[in-house]
């Protein structure tokens, strides 16, 4: 499985440590909130809301360099328009991997 990385954020920060920290802090704050919103909408079987939450999480996935996982998230987002949850477990694995990674940075 792909491992998250900070390549994109490092490139963006261009050596500015405070900007790097700011970007990481925002992701550390936004990601758990979005993840929780995702779980709530999933539990409520609110497919439209779940799709929106996946869309927002998708951006974090690609920011953290998870290109293959981004494709999975993208497919899952599209599947949700048809109320299809086939990829829910794959998506769950991505969220777990990111959650773990964010604790390490």
């Amino acid at each position: 499985m792909e491992k998250p990385n900070l390549d994109y954020l490092e490139k963006l920060a261009r050596g500015d440590a405070s900007l790097r920290k700011k970007l990481i802090d925002i992701i550390k704050n936004e990601f758990p909130e979005e993840r929780e919103e995702y779980y709530i909408s999933l539990k409520d079987k609110d497919f439209k809301k779940t799709e929106e939450n996946v869309h927002r999480l998708k951006h974090k996935i690609i920011i953290l360099g998870l290109e293959e996982n981004y494709k999975i998230a993208n497919k899952f987002e599209h599947d949700l328009r048809d109320c299809n949850l086939d990829r829910v477990e794959d998506f769950e694995k991505i969220l777990i991997a990111i959650s773990y990674y964010l604790k390490t940075i």
Partner: protein
């Protein structure tokens, strides 16, 4: 040049702000997490450029664009190119940035915004029709020259755009592309086919040949097709 950023994600707003800070002549005068706040701001302030996330909950970027009476230039930002096609129909959309946005691509978009001369919808529309348009393929917007198109075929939820050199499969309808193609060149000869009349090499009773492909012609379309041909 002043600009505002409209995006429901904080990280996206900060990233765009960071990229804007790299451009000397570009100043961010507002950041908004929802479209309604941005509309209020636009009603009270003159803005040159908007970075607009097209995929926002409740009131998305396309809805936002439709509410603007005197829209400034807009650069769309999103992690899903699907919505961009619709929005690209507007005159004031300068460019489209797929997230995550890199500095180089961002700079190109700003250069476009700088060069962009406001034009009327009519002029822009005409020029787009005559030259080219964009299609969404695998999260990329690909420019297709209109005159290079030979055949457009509908297959299920997709259309196959066949040009002189390449074929493109696009999630769209024949009706939508028909609106983009100039009547002077293109004709819908069948419920599943639009053809470039200039590319016809052979005609039989109910078929035409283009690019070695035999295309059916509906009986009802045949008179119109015959009218278009420069017969001796």
């Amino acid at each position: 040049m002043n600009c505002i950023i409209v995006d429901d994600e904080q990280i996206a707003r900060v990233i765009i702000k960071t990229l804007c800070d790299e451009i000397k002549f570009l100043g961010v005068v507002g950041e908004f997490s929802d479209a309604m706040q941005a509309i209020k701001f636009l009603n009270a302030n003159e803005i040159d450029l908007i970075f607009l996330d097209i995929h926002m909950p409740d009131f998305n970027g396309v809805d936002f664009i439709k509410t603007l009476k005197n829209p400034p230039k807009i650069i769309l930002t999103t992690s899903d190119s699907q919505f961009a096609i619709e929005a690209f129909e507007y005159d004031f959309i300068i460019d489209y940035l797929l997230k995550p946005i890199g500095l180089e691509r961002f700079q190109k978009a700003i250069l476009k915004a700088q060069k962009h001369e406001p034009s009327t919808n009519e002029v822009r529309f005409e020029s787009e029709i005559k030259n080219d348009f964009y299609v969404n393929i695998d999260r990329r917007l690909i420019k297709i020259n209109v005159e290079s198109i030979c055949i457009v075929e509908a297959k299920g939820d997709y259309i196959h755009i066949k040009t002189e050199e390449k074929n493109y499969v696009v999630h769209s309808t024949l009706r939508r592309i028909e609106e983009k193609l100039p009547d002077s060149l293109f004709l819908r000869v069948h419920r599943s086919f639009i053809i470039n009349v200039k590319k016809i090499v052979d005609i039989e009773d109910n078929t035409v040949v283009i690019k070695k492909e035999v295309i059916p012609v509906s009986r009802s379309k045949r008179p119109e097709l015959m009218k278009r041909l420069d017969l001796l």
